[in-house]
Symmetry: C2
Subunit: 214 residues, 2 copies
Amino acid sequence: MARRPVLEFWYEFASTYSYLAAMRIEDLAEEAGAEVRWRPFLLGPIFAAQGWTTSPFNLYPAKGRYMWRDLEREAARLGLPCLRPDPFPQNALSAARVALLGADRGWTPAFTRAVYAKEFGEGRSIAEATVVGEILSGLGLDAPAVLKESQSEGNKTRLKALGEEARSRGIFGAPTFFTEDGEMFWGNDRLDRALAWATGERAGHVSASGRGSA
Amino acid sequence: MARRPVLEFWYEFASTYSYLAAMRIEDLAEEAGAEVRWRPFLLGPIFAAQGWTTSPFNLYPAKGRYMWRDLEREAARLGLPCLRPDPFPQNALSAARVALLGADRGWTPAFTRAVYAKEFGEGRSIAEATVVGEILSGLGLDAPAVLKESQSEGNKTRLKALGEEARSRGIFGAPTFFTEDGEMFWGNDRLDRALAWATGERAGHVSASGRGSA
């Protein structure tokens, strides 16, 4: 059986549009014949480096008001619930550390969807390690052991390195998708095109060195 | 003949994604059975009010690099040329004043497309009144008379008032679309949904007062 093309899915647990992408990416990838690599990372350091101390949706109130209404419309269109957690954005450190740990063990997709379902489906906090532990238990995992391992120096360092990789590859928001040939797509609105590109359906494929991108 | 639903199209001549929307909105509106109200406005004062002295695509280089690549891909997909004018963003004051003047006279859509074709199709400057004049002449209009009228106090005041209306209605970027029931859609990516909403095809229509938008 031929190896399937890979799409990298970089997401942040506090990100509203990452929620929409996470809930549908596996079905869409399956249809397209692609494989998803889940990359949970923290956007906070990238925002901080450009002088933002919180979500741009809080810093720019008009944009924030629009985003919540757009999220509500888009979620309804996709058949997903949509509630706003308080505070927004949620501290996603515990969840990101745990999600990273599950990447090699196969449960990161299910864990990620469960976190988002609680956060933006039920509007509840996902910041506390106890909540993350409950989600792990709900998946039949050994919550205390996973939480402890997620807080190890090795795993903390790995999450920091992933954040550094995100920045160095030009990521400035979430969700962001990368195809194997290095093409980058930003936003839930680009998920379909990212999958099409990953699987070779490059309608209107243009050279990356074309003058238009200079 | 029944009155057709109206979609307001708020655009800024310096805006790259407004270019993509402007080049296709009339065909799409015709298909959907809607009427477009063209609203050329200046985004600069809105950006300035939130502390931005230039385009966010210049202020945030990673976002800017991505935008040019995404614009190139999207333009190719839509069969449109894509070249970057220097400098970016272009000063759009002359063009906006003229476009506003044509709104009641029927030539604003053609004028707008001609400006964008020069700016982002050919990568040329549209900042000078002489260039704007050439575009007007190309449309068979009396360029000196139109330019002179566009610089009248009455027209300048009207453009400022339109900018104030944009801000007060929550516009934070361009293109932005409004349906007659006040629903706002931001971005070229939302043009299809805005038209669907305007014409009553509200799949997943949710209440504006739902908790999710709080």
